[in-house]
Amino acid sequence: MTAPSIILVEDDPPLRTLTARALQEHGYLVRPASSGPEMWVAFDAGPVDLVVLDVMLPGTNGIDLCRQIRRKSDVPIIFISAKGSETDRIVGLELGADDYLPKPFGTRELIARIRAILRRVGVERGPDDHRESEAHFDGWSVNFRRRELRSPTGAIVDLTGAEFDLLGSFLSHPQRVIARERLIELSRTRMGDSSDRSIDVLVSRLRRKLSSADRPAPITTVRGVGYMFNAEVSRA
């Protein structure tokens, strides 16, 4: 298996060099670009597994570039931005980016995100492509783009990255028993996330968040095996 190819679009030369070096050290093939036009040239140079894209670029900014890429390709995109706010993150994700990393970031965090996304793509973008934007169950709705969960009454319910990934795993396998080990494997896509709690803690937290006054969360424990998500899931 060849090393994954990454296009890195960053206008600050030293940061571009540093980031490229960090990625290379971790075994990725990097094609650096300083602007939109250079990025398109890099696209033509060969297959691309992932794009790391700075949001604030001279000329065509990262957001417009992301839109343009999405018109042609489903290649995973990680935004890096000097704007750290949640709204910017959501805008980026809405546009079809797969993750959003605020500056300053460390190599460990960047690599973890890249690995997580590449793994997610490997797992999910197989024959059964799950890049649809929404899923519904018991009145709850999940927006995968924004990584957002809404209650039956329309309120946003905070989930951590790990919790969201866990919920995503459950939603991909509704009404089927999932072994603990399999769940760990499915949900461990976010190593950069601070939570390294055991899967049971994650499940209990998710249960608490999905419960309501009149009914418990639709996650049952199958003793000795794992868990089951027993609600009907409809996808849109």
């Binding site: 600050d12 940061l15 000097a82 704007k83 500056k103 039956p152 946003i156 951590t160 939570s195 419960s211």
Partner: protein
Amino acid sequence: MRWRLRGSIGLLGRLFAILLATVTLEFAVGTLIYERASQLSLQDDEARRLAEHLVIARKLLSENPSRERPALSFQLTTDRYDVHWSPAAPPPPPLSPGLERMRRQIIDWEPSLEKASLWLRLTPGRHSEINGGLRLPDGSWLYFGMHHSGGKWAFTIGRMGLALIPMLALLIAGWLLIRRTLAPLRDLTHATHRIGRGVEVMVPEAGTSDVRNLITAFNAMQARIHRLIDERTETLAAVGHDLRTPLARMQLRVESVADPDLREAMSDDLDEMGEMLESLLAYFGGDSEPESPVRSDVAVSIATVVDAFQDHGHDVTYDGPDHLEMTVRALSLRRAVRNLIENALHYGHRARVSLERKDGEILIRIDDDGPGIPRDRLEEVLRPFARLDEARQRNTRGLGLGLAIVQKAVAAEGGTFLLANRPEGGLRAEICLAAPRSTGRG
């Protein structure tokens, strides 16, 4: 609008115009009352008695020689009627309302008085409300006055009322007009109170030209202030964002430092700088558009923040409902709770977070077991860049914006933020928000 602007007169002019209008109206109404006096009438029997008395007096006086007439007229004077005789013609009729209707009543009873050129008038005097005169056949004059006995009060009150009603009406009209004229000034005062609380309060231009000029100047000043603030915010945001790129470079460079202690220390410094930038941008705005309120589950948000602290090994607990849905600026509120927990852990060792719905209020409390804050400094710590550590020789990270950010976030929700020393020791930070009408989950 344009023509009104040009044609508008000053505040002084407007007030003068109101004064002029009231005075003119008063004059007009006064004249009308004067006219109306001719409509005053006497009761029938009273008119007849007066007519009879006049006929008798006229007959007696004219049948007696001139020198006996004064004495005779004295005899003719009763409780009710004054009678005088004068050989001279009447003085020019003073400016008092003629009582045409009353005269007609009297003449109807005694048509002979018509020829004697009977005249009547209202007098302002105290004794007789009505007096008049009539000519004797020899050209001398009989004057009489009538004490109005029976209907005296009603008559007087009627007259006063007639004068009072328009006066009151004019007072009210004048008050309303002046109030209307000054209304734009009131708006301006209200706007001034609200200025500097974040939103631009444009006052509609209305009123007289000088008030309008004041409002124009006020709005322009406000626009200038907001432009200044915006410029500062933009500058700050630009600096903040630009600083993050070199910070990112340093972060990556630090990783190649061989000495692990040095690497750790530098990495820590970088983290702190990043946090400082973040709190600066959070406090002054500029990282993004102001957040708008959305319906979100506050209980879950708080629990999530608490979970994150627990994952980092801190002693933080959450006590409260699993769900509580409210429309709030969720990110700001979450940041506020995080700041308060950080503070609690900085000054104490543990944080007890609770969420409670009580008497139409939502209370979010963060209790710590630290030393608390001296009573006289409780307010001071809410100010931006304030810190208590100078006095306590303790090392604090950040810029001292933590509580100021909380204060701002809570104010944006229309809530209150309180710090209090707990009697059992430690500090209690309390965020109090108005409860939503329904918190149920369908």
